[in-house]
Symmetry: C2
Subunit: 153 residues, 2 copies
Amino acid sequence: MATETEFEVESMHYNRLLLAVDDDDDESSRKAFNYACTLAKIYAIPLGIVSVLETGDLNIYQSLSPDLLSERRGEIAANLNTYVEKAEAFGAQDVQPLIGEGNPAHVILEEVAPAFKPDLIILGSHKRRGHNHIGHVAGEIAREANASVIIVR
Amino acid sequence: MATETEFEVESMHYNRLLLAVDDDDDESSRKAFNYACTLAKIYAIPLGIVSVLETGDLNIYQSLSPDLLSERRGEIAANLNTYVEKAEAFGAQDVQPLIGEGNPAHVILEEVAPAFKPDLIILGSHKRRGHNHIGHVAGEIAREANASVIIVR
C-alpha cells in the first residue's frame, strides 16, 4: 500500500453490527455496549446482540440438571431482553437478540456470525486480573472472524 | 453486566486515532486507512499515522548498510507524507506522521501509543496466505494495547 500513491480515500462505515455480551460485568463490557448502541443509532443500522450459554466444559454442562439448564436459558433470554430494550430506548431501531449454546468463540464464529453476517463484531476486552490482555474468547474472535473486530477497552 | 438492569446507555465515540501502516498492500490496509480517515473527518479528531522501520531481526538490520538504512528511512518518511496528504485532502484536519524503528508491535505498544495517547488503534488484518488469521503484529497489539483496537478486514 505504502508504495502506491494512486489511490483515493473513500468514506467507510459499517452496516451491520454484532455485539457479544456475557455475564462478566466489567467496564469494557459497558463501553462495548455503549459503542454498539451509538453506532447503531447514528447510522440507523441493525444491531445483533449475542449471548452464549457456555456449555463447552463438559463437566459443567453435565452438572447442570435440566431444571438448572432451563433456568440459565431463561436468565440469558431475560438479560438479552434487557439489552435490547435499553438499546431501543437509546434510539437503535433494529436490535435483535441472538442466543447460542456451546463454546462461545466457536458458536459466534461458526454459527451466529455466518447467519447474522455482521461486518463489525464488537467485543469487550474482559481484561484479566488487572492485565490488559484480552480474554480468550475475544482473542479467538479477533484472530479468526471474517468481519472486522473491535476490542473495546 | 448482564445481571444488572440499572444502567443507562451513553453515547460513545473515540477522540484520538492511531493508524498503523506498513508496506503490505492488502485490501485490509486500504480499508483501515479509509476507516481512519472517515472517523477523523466526521468527528474532527486527531489522527496519528505510524510506520515502523522494522529492525527487529538483527540479521536483516545488520545487513542494512548505512546507505540502505538511510534510504529506507527516506522511503518510510515519503510514504507517510503521502498518507498524510491524502488524509488531509479527504478532510481530516489534524494528521500527524509518526515514525518508529525496531520491532513494530513493541515500538507501537511501548513508544508510540504511550506518547500519542490514542483511544482507538486502527489496524489492517494483514491476513496470511488466504487465511483470515491476523498477522503477528496486529495480534500482539490487539492483545496488549491499553486503548481499544479495531482490526479492519
